[in-house]
């Protein structure tokens, strides 16, 4: 029973990892790719590692430590990358509707 629950959780996690990679490949812009990669890959890795911890109960606490570290560190690194690409002058794609960061003078240097 525990094996079946763990396999279902791990399967959902792998599907989310694949969807995150698909978003990385298909979305048109740097910032869209940032949000696709961060959200889907973080949730997918979290679910995969927790599923392995459910299938093998001796490893659960260490898997939980790894999953919590990914849950904390991955949004921080993606935020740093997005902010760096905004500051280094990467523009939004043509279909974007609004850009709030033009109100701040120190972003969007030409």
């Amino acid at each position: 029973m525990r094996l079946i629950i763990g396999e279902v959780i791990t399967g959902i996690g792998t599907v989310f990892l694949f969807l995150g990679s698909l978003g990385i490949f298909r979305l048109p812009d740097v910032y869209n790719r940032v949000q696709a990669g961060t959200k889907c890959a973080t949730l997918g890795a979290f679910l995969t590692i927790i599923g392995v911890g459910v299938m093998q109960p001796d490893w659960f606490w260490k898997a939980l430590i790894i999953a919590l570290f990914i849950l904390i560190s991955n949004p921080i690194s993606s935020h740093a990358l997005g902010r760096a690409s905004l500051k280094s002058g990467v523009r939004l794609c043509d279909k974007s509707v609004v850009n709030k960061t033009e109100e701040f003078g120190r972003y969007n240097k030409k």
Binding site: S21, F25, G37, F69, N74, I76, S77, A80
Partner: protein, 86 residues
């Protein structure tokens, strides 16, 4: 976990890694490549835990933890470099 389910998981994760590597080859700017590498490292951390469960090696969890820490530090360094230069 039976071998068939493990191979199905492995094929799904491998397809994701291949898509990310294609974006890393194509990407117009340096930020695209850095984001693709970020996603690949996150996927590889999950894949190492899965491989450690399948091969019944406890060491793979240590490898996964150290790999995630080193990838985090490296990506923050790359972001710092893109923002201001060294």
């Amino acid at each position: 976990m039976s071998e068939t389910i493990f191979y199905i998981f492995l094929i799904i994760i491998g397809a994701g890694v291949i898509l990310c590597l294609l974006r890393m080859l194509k990407g117009p700017t340096a930020s695209d490549r850095a984001i693709a590498v970020d996603t690949v490292t996150t996927i590889v951390v999950a894949l190492l835990v899965l491989l450690g469960f399948f091969f019944k090696r406890y060491v793979y969890l240590d490898v996964s933890l150290v790999y995630s820490v080193i990838s985090f530090v490296g990506l923050v360094a790359i972001a710092r470099f893109l923002e201001k230069g060294i």
